[in-house]
């Protein structure tokens, strides 16, 4: 049992806690980050590392344009090779309705200056040699989207927090948040350690609802299971992230740095709750879907298969917000895109917390919004 003080306590050692903690510390705050298990124990260590600006919500597009700019410069900022690579994202359209929805999205995305276009089936095949284009109508192609290594990015930010004289404490589960007179006062861990602080950030990802309750704040984030697999490393033969939105589709990418293929799909129907069981269904279904799309992968071996959680809000957009409790902030509910949001939302949340406003206004991600503007490119 010990007592300490901080200018800001961050709860959660995933990408969101790590990045936000870093930008708070860089602004001169004394940051203490508390992680229940170890960094990347939650969704961040289970994600596939894709980064894109192809969304439909205006604010999300603007946040991602900023985030991609930051990923491009993150090696220098953090002093580690984060394995950023702009291999692009190719969203495939196998029916007219999907094609129309991509065309609509592209119109919005172009307004913000994104380099994105709808390309023909032939062009898709040129970008992805060996693609099985049967029934393909074309695809939404953005060459500036890309990938990076979630472990490198997260640990890079955590080391950065320490460089700015902050602390990163593992095996520290937050059990209590003391609120007096409508203001946060301190945070208490399972070991009985207490940290007095005027600022607490809930960055607990799929567990954000539970952490919100500790401060008496309702944070509508619900986990649902997403499984993924990784193959052995092979010679480079795929540049972009391929996204196949068919009901039995999937998304996968080849890691630029290592040559592994890594991918996942969104199950229909969804599997709600904290569920990290790896299913028999996925380990046969995912290979079938991958090989159907890219037959040349048939001989590539699967190394591992695991499950993680998407952390969904009612409209599929993040919550980045103050709360009715003074000093208590939420940055969670990334709805399956938290890795790519990390750098920009980390910086913007730090601005919101310290300056009271951020250079890109996050108002549309506030906690008391009507949840009506749903993201179409989940």
């Amino acid at each position: 049992m010990s007592r300490g003080t901080a200018d800001a306590v961050v709860i959660g050692g995933g990408i969101i806690g790590a990045a936000t903690g870093y930008y708070l510390a860089r602004q001169g705050l004394k940051v203490v980050l508390l992680e229940r298990a170890f960094p990347c124990a939650g969704s961040t260590g289970r994600c596939i590392g894709g980064i894109r600006a192809q969304f439909t919500h205006d604010l999300t597009i603007r946040v991602m344009l900023e985030s991609i700019k930051m990923f491009q410069e993150l090696d220098e900022e953090l002093g580690v090779d984060i394995e950023w690579y702009a291999g692009g994202y190719l969203f495939l359209a196998f029916d007219e309705q999907r094609k129309q929805s991509f065309l609509q999205a592209i119109e919005i995305q172009k307004r913000y200056g994104l380099k994105v276009e709808f390309i023909s089936k032939e062009e898709c095949c040129r970008i992805v040699p060996g693609l099985n284009a049967e029934g393909l109508l074309g695809g939404a192609w953005c060459p500036t989207d890309g990938q990076a290594n979630p472990f490198k990015v997260t640990y890079g930010y955590l080391e950065g927090i320490k460089r700015f004289r902050g602390e990163v404490l593992v095996c520290q589960e937050v059990k209590r948040i003391n609120v007096i007179g409508g203001k946060v006062v301190s945070v208490v861990t399972a070991d009985g350690n207490e940290f007095f602080t005027p600022v607490v950030l809930n960055a607990a990802g799929p567990w954000a609802e539970d952490v919100g309750k500790l401060a008496g704040v309702d944070v509508p984030v619900k986990p649902d299971r997403h499984e993924a697999l990784v193959t052995e490393a092979v010679e480079r033969c795929l540049e972009p992230m391929l996204v196949d939105y068919r009901p039995d589709g999937c998304y996968f990418v080849q890691h630029y740095g290592t040559g592994h293929f890594i991918g996942c799909y969104t199950p229909v129907p969804i599997v709600p709750g904290h569920n990290l069981d790896a299913s028999d269904e996925f380990i046969t279904e995912m290979p079938r879907r991958m090989v159907r799309l890219l037959p040349k992968l048939a001989l590539v071996k699967v190394l591992r298969h695991w499950a993680g959680s998407y952390e969904m809000t009612p409209d599929g957009n993040p919550i980045c917000s103050g709360t009715p409790v003074e000093g208590f902030y939420v940055s969670a509910g990334m709805s399956g895109h938290g890795f790519m949001f990390g750098p920009a939302l980390g910086k913007l949340m730090a601005e919101l917390i310290v300056q009271g406003r951020s250079t890109i206004d996050l108002n549309e991600f506030r906690l008391d919004r009507p949840w009506t503007k749903a993201e179409a490119m989940k």
Binding site: A37, F38, P39, C40, A41, G45, F151, Y155, V170, T231, E232, A278, D280, E281, I283, T284, E285, P287, R288, M290, V291, R292, L297, A298, L299, V300, K301, V302, L303, R304, H305, W306
Partner: protein
């Protein structure tokens, strides 16, 4: 690790501990000394246990290195979850299994 009297400890710094990812003992010790004291954290930083063998070759050795460096005994260390498949299998084989078995 208990050392037997009369034996001189060999110089093992350059010995490869994780053969899949080619990680040496010295690299692992450096990460432990940087403050990462669990197999899970070391795995995420160095990829030890993420290759073909799934950690069968290296994890016990790394656990002993952690014990040497930190005095956290191997017996109280948490080993990462073993992930299926136990042995690497081709995508095409797994996909075919699906086709033959129908919608299991």
């Amino acid at each position: 690790m208990r050392k037997k009297k009369g034996y001189r400890k060999a110089k093992t710094d350059n010995v490869i501990v994780c053969r899949c990812e080619e990680i040496t003992e010295a690299e692992i010790r450096a990460v432990i000394r940087a403050g990462y004291h669990s197999l899970e954290e070391i795995k995420r930083i160095l990829r030890t246990g993420m290759g073909h063998c799934g950690g069968r070759g290296c994890l016990k050795v790394i656990a002993r290195l952690i014990e040497e460096e930190t005095e956290i005994p191997v017996s109280s260390q948490k080993f990462p979850t073993s992930r299926p498949p136990l042995k690497p299998l081709p995508l095409g084989l797994l996909a075919g299994y699906k086709n033959e078995q129908g919608n299991r």
